[in-house]
Symmetry: C2
DNA sequence: CGCGGTCAGGACCATCCAGTCCATGCCGCG
DNA sequence: CGCGGCATGGACTGGATGGTCCTGACCGCG
């Protein structure tokens, strides 16, 4: 199985099943703690399928990273594409908090936890993750820019920096919540970032 | 070797060497990517010494966590014990940024990266880490409380929440910096949190 | 100075896990 | 309907890694 091959529908489905199962396991247990045998069992496939689709575990990990990044950016686009008011930002915050509350904060951010684990281990994965964060912040920055253009935000507001601040608060909040098994730090952190944006609101 | 044993000076030194070497390796490579053989080599000891001092790897990891937490809290106490002005907070920020700049943001926060890796893996370690974050935030909160008491901060400032916000910005900043290999996101995040505190300054 | 116990050294073992391989089955195309 | 190739299954292997154990050195105490 070479890269760029055209897959039959069945093959593509199997590949997707593998990536999805691996993503879930790696999210819950961590990348390094997830064995290929775990993935095999969870995806109801076999060892040779794994190696038909991925030359080695590293490539599977990269596929998982790409898949998760695409998934999250897709979801975030839903929230942020039309962002143009402070209320929209509050809704964004609420949706993230609520989603994380479902699991009591455990596991953290799917991108953030992989970033932390892979940053010192797979430079290629790290780059993709970094790029994903940039895109994610870009969605926020674009919304903030629209708010500025419409006069909701003052002219001296820097959408890029505000977006970075929001993302850092989000990621830091995820981490503290994951460690404490309590989502309140995440709420507090996001509220701080939101307050910061609010301080640039006109009138 | 049982817990609570009194060690000879030599034994204590060996134990400390092991923990220190393990801490460094786990910080740079990650906990799971660090093998006991790595630790043995880096600490110039032998396998049986490892097992003389620690029943298994998990306990070594816990010792590393405890050691790192103590180390960081000690360092932070130096910065925060006498914190009583906004300028002091800025100095705190600068010191952290400068320290992280030395390695171009790589590796992140020694506590944060272990928290992310161990949270879903060792509940005992997670609890210690959570407690350490609480203490760390406590140092910040105490300083902010002093600022409030002295009238530097308004009465409606909540030191606890401000401290949590600072910590989240710090941790999120570390993560983004580590992923991007660029400390600017960390600076931006901390500046946001500092601005937030500034918004509670009197006059 | 010698003796008991603690510490150091490193060979050794068992397990786990990434990665290989070959036999079988299914699918689409002619 | 038959054929060629792709997908599938799972047994197998080599090596890494956590953990054990035995031997010998050192240290403090009598």
């Amino acid at each position: 199985m070479q890269a760029g091959r055209t897959l039959t529908p069945r093959g593509a489905a199997t590949r997707a099943r593998i990536v999805e199962a691996a993503a879930e396991l790696m999210y819950v247990k961590g990348v390094n703690a997830t064995t290929l045998d775990d993935v095999r069992a969870a995806s109801s496939t076999s060892k040779s399928q794994l190696y038909n689709h991925f030359p080695d575990k590293e490539e599977l990990v990269r596929a998982v990273v790409a898949s998760r990044a695409a998934q999250i950016l897709e979801r975030e686009r839903g929230y942020l594409q039309r962002l143009k008011s402070f209320r929209g930002l509050v809704r964004w915050r609420d949706a993230l908090v609520q989603r994380n509350a479902l699991q009591n904060g455990a596991y953290g951010c799917a991108l953030g936890s992989m970033a932390s684990e892979l940053a010192d281990q797979d430079d290629q994965a790290r780059t993709v993750l970094a790029q994903s964060f940039v895109e994610w912040e870009g969605l926020l920055a674009a919304g903030l820019q629209r708010m500025r253009d419409s006069g909701a935000l003052r002219a001296d507001a820097d959408p890029e920096k505000l977006a970075t601040g929001l993302m850092a608060a989000l990621q830091g909040g995820y981490l503290l919540a994951e460690t404490a098994h309590d989502i309140r730090p995440m709420e507090v952190a996001l509220d701080m970032a939101l307050d910061h944006v609010r301080s640039f609101l006109t009138a």
